[in-house]
Symmetry: C3
Subunit: 235 residues, 3 copies
């Protein structure tokens, strides 16, 4: 199921469900399906923010100076609302591919966040606007004349994981992960079960059970199953 | 002096004294005794928190898949109040060994903090609970089926320094260090003298002395000595 | 133009102008002049702080133990108001060269911030005082008996860029950069033009232009030119 094959209503429903789910629960759901999903090395830059949305991918490459002057990329004009921009700069730390202008335009276009395999600048503005930005770090040197846009809406690889255009991206204080679009519904249902299982375990511990007892009672070996679907505990 | 050889009253007294001491002062005291103590690479994850407590050590190893399914570890049920959990995962960054369930149980058991040679998840929850967590970083992928518990309450090595069960662990915004249990009393006395010396120096500078004069006056070459024990300054 | 060749009034004027400029705009201005300026790897340690001032450089080297006991360095007594201390410890992560005493004295002397190619300690105090500190990280082990002062007010290299005594240093949430003293006036004028150009672009996007249109209108290919000096847009 590619991005375009989801109806607006399906997209809105997925985003609404994701908004209430942690990356940890989603990761457990993805693990239960054997899908590698965590973007290793990508770190939340604005404390307290989180994001979820459909990947709009952007691929940069080092500048080819034989081509003459390179203007800044204006791809943001094409990013639809509900997107998370996923910008690959090969992990490069000395040339930024995100800053205050893009942040202002993104906020105005209801873009839901940005993930950068590299660095961003204007972090004071990004923080003031509480814009969800995830990257390897921060620097202030422009990408202009250092890197150039190679392509948009192509698959990009970050930390060993491939992000395809239209995949679901979720980010919080623990990091960012990618959910393949055609698995999103199943992953979300399992993640909801994981969160319910964990809530039950925490409640049982609060009532005096040991963690071992609580985990056995609530089947922490199968947390992605809804309570009704779980094999009754032997305990 | 192993952990068990301290009386409850001695333990409480050490913890109370440590609660008022910075890692910097404790490190200077440990330096004065020739003891390497700083856990290099371990970083405070929740700004504004600090912790001190007796090490309960946990050692993980990569999963041996020939053993079949591995459940999550429930060691937290055995951690006594006043402990700091010290969890060694060999610095691994892609598999977490701490998350929201352990945090909730730790808070409930009056565990005073956690140090991870590796990464943790559910940082939004950890931050909301203001739980003192120190680690190499953050990620969201579970350790389940990636790493398994090898042992508890054994010596572990973090950043080149050995942590023994029952050692005193102190962490603040500058990082974490370990105080051998049998040296804790001496280290704390010296650290108190260091802090008094520094307070006197800062006060003297505030009254107009140069730093050179203030340091000479208050014997910054021997900051771990109580004022009465210091050789009078030549100044 | 060396530091000493600027009048007090010129110095005050440069500082006042810099206080309103982001490192991103200054970096674009420096790029337009072909000057490498960003200190790669140096990170803001106290969120929300920024600094600008004239570099007072400090160079450390590993302790030569054949020399006997080394006292802490007291160079801070000589740092003039309006300075930023730039302390080079060769990127070393296990021995601090900044802490609470230096912070207190710096605040008292109207020193405007500190940049460390290495690590600092007493981050709780530094944060409480909202002192602008930029470094590779944090640790608690003293530099005492690990490193020693080699020289002050000599050129130092940080992240591939040379900082000369008297250069202008500016730091914010995106990092730190150095502006050669004899280029400071020109760099600041260009940075002001960059900020005006960006403000105009953001305003135009707010009024409904695409980013491509807004950048063309406001000549984002020459952002460092004042509006009056720009070639009229072809758009």
């Amino acid at each position: 199921m590619s991005h375009s094959s989801l109806s607006e209503q399906q997209r809105a429903s997925l985003l609404e469900q994701c908004a209430a789910l942690d990356t940890a629960s989603l990761s457990d759901a993805l693990d239960s399906l054997g899908i590698d999903a965590g973007l290793l090395g990508i770190v939340q830059q604005v404390p307290g923010t989180r994001c979820s949305g459909f990947a709009f991918t952007v691929l940069y490459e080092p500048v080819d100076h034989s081509d003459g002057f390179k203007n800044a990329a204006n791809y943001i004009d094409e990013v639809p609302p509900g997107s998370v921009v996923v910008s690959s700069n090969a992990g490069r730390l000395d040339a930024t591919v995100w800053g205050d202008i893009l942040t202002h335009v993104a906020v105005q276009r209801n873009v839901r966040g940005t993930v950068i395999d590299g660095v961003a600048r204007d972090l004071d503005t990004v923080t003031r606007l509480q814009y969800p930005l995830f990257s390897r770090g921060r620097f202030m040197q422009s990408g202009k004349n250092r890197v150039q846009l190679k392509a948009t809406q192509v698959p990009v690889e970050i930390g060993g994981v491939t992000v395809n255009p239209g995949d679901l991206i979720v980010g919080d204080a623990s990091g960012c992960l990618v959910i393949p679009a055609d698995k999103a519904e199943e992953v979300i249902q399992r993640a909801i079960a994981v969160e319910n299982t964990e809530r039950d375990i925490i409640a049982s511990v609060g009532q005096g059970l040991s963690l071992a007892e609580a985990r056995r009672l609530h089947r922490y070996d199968q947390p992605w199953l809804a309570a009704a679907a779980k094999t009754p505990s032997a305990a």
